[in-house]
């Protein structure tokens, strides 16, 4: 019996097992982002919004929606993908993945695909939640969808790498807590970097999250802090870097296969 060129059943098995894991923790997976979004709207939308009616011609409530979605998309993608591969490493069940007739690409598609699908779903849920608080307007829905998918994939890939790299739960939480959270808060989710003094505006341009939020916001309101090309270019760069790293990881067996 000859082996197929692509182990679709194997990939589907990983994908649906990962999705099943989410169903088991449905409450945390969905309620947490919805609640957080609602809180952001109450705190930022109402408290700040009452002082700052609009930003660049967009109501403040609507202005923060793209940033809020990006925040969750980023953290969820990294969290889902990193735990997705860290857990089997931790429990030892990874032996089965390593001994199955699966190529590196198939393993990545299964795990990263599931993590990205989950965070896209959460992004959409947040979008729906936001619609309760503020009238939404999406000028370029196709571009919005593209950003949603690209961001989810890029940061799920990144999370997957962190999951392989991490030897402990502390390390698993280290990157999201110490790198991603500060960057997202300083990434222009709640303000336009035009509001910053020139020096900090320049500093912000080195913050990758600015490019994500800006591009995503562009798809909503037709305007962002940086150009659309810069945003798309940045996403492509992240994906390319992660893929390159993954090629190296699977070639060497780094922390996956002794």
């Amino acid at each position: 019996m000859s082996a197929p060129l692509f182990n679709l059943r194997g990939v589907a098995a990983i994908f649906s097992a990962e999705m099943a894991r989410t169903r088991r923790t449905l409450l945390q997976s969905v309620v947490t982002p919805v609640l957080t979004t609602a809180l952001y709207f109450v705190v930022f939308g109402s408290a700040i919004g009452s002082h700052m009616r609009e930003v660049g011609g967009v109501a403040y409530g609507a202005f923060i929606v793209p940033g809020l979605i990006m925040l969750s998309l980023l953290t969820q993608s990294i969290a889902n993908a990193s735990i997705g591969i860290y857990f089997p490493k931790f429990t030892g069940t990874v032996y089965e993945i390593l001994t199955a007739p699966l190529s590196a690409i198939e393993i990545v598609v299964g795990y990263v695909g599931a993590a990205a699908a989950k965070s896209i779903a959460i992004g959409l849920i947040i979008l729906a939640t936001a619609a309760f608080f503020t009238p939404l307007q999406i000028d370029y829905p196709a571009m919005m969808a593209l950003f949603l998918v690209l961001t989810a994939v890029a940061f799920s890939l990144f999370g997957f790498i962190i999951g392989i790299w991490a030897k402990t739960f502390e390390q698993l939480n280290f990157v999201p807590a110490l790198v991603i959270t500060p960057l997202t808060f300083l990434g222009g989710a709640f303000y336009s970097i035009d509001m910053l003094p020139p020096f900090w505006r320049t500093v912000s341009l080195f913050n990758p999250v600015v490019y994500l939020v800006s591009g995503f916001r562009w798809s909503f309101h037709g305007a962002g802090d940086v150009s659309l090309t810069a945003s798309l270019g940045f996403m492509t760069l992240v994906i390319a870097l992660c893929l390159g790293l993954l090629v190296w990881i699977f070639r060497t067996g780094y922390r996956l296969k002794p």
Partner: protein
Amino acid sequence: MPIISIAGVAKSYGSFTALHDIDLDIERGEIFALLGPNGAGKTTLISIVCGAVSMTRGAVRVDGADILRDYRATRRKIGLVPQEIALDIFSTVWNTVSFSRSLFGKPKDNAHIERLLRDLALWEKRDNKIIELSGGMKRRVMIAKALAHEPDILFLDEPTAGVDVELRRDMWGLVRRLRENGVTIILTTHYIEEAEEMADRVGFMKGGRLVLVEEKTALMRKLGKRRLVLTLAEPLAALPAELDGWHVELESGGSQISYAMSDGAEKGAAQIIQRLGEAGVHIKDMAMTESSLEQIFVDLVGAAAGSQP
């Protein structure tokens, strides 16, 4: 053609060499037992063939195909029950076994999974979560997972460690049935009687080397010394002159005479008894002892290796 052919396989972890150039052929349909003390390299060797560990040097062929180049074809033929129980504790028995089958690219076959779970006495527990199972049940789930994709070759890395007597018997039975269905089985164990009971061939590993590979019966014949032990009615101070030139020893303070028998030495035994009678020595009891694989093993690897589980 051997079903598995391991040629010059070596493995280093940094500067530590876990395997030194191993050569080994496994024949189709046999039960091969790998023995050896802790850290000998048994798990490492198995893991390399299965793809869970990468080799530093060498080549492995499964059914004629290279395990690196044709990994899809070779891995589909192999099932692995690793030494350590590793399961997703929140999954159910049915789901985790079905998952294994899909992972290997096989189409759904509920009848096969059902048969497997019934065979392994897990059918009643099919909807239970792994966390709700006993240790022995978990081990059986590991076996069910390894067999879910109907492999031609099954690796059992210490399948009966920490398993009760009844379950061990059950597992031996299962292994025999698998072999009757043409499955090749490679198992590691620290229970010598397990190898003695089941294996066709035995391999001894020590310090990352395959010290010896031998057909079990041949090995027992070659190394397993049969001894005739005669217990005397009255202890002797020295062997009687009638036994001069015979390779016999006086033991237990002169109360026993033992004679190492080589093949076709039955006549010798009869003559010794006759000569003792002529010398007026009365024999109270007579016994034949046969060294087990365990003794052979201890002789081979030194007392320190022992046979602890």
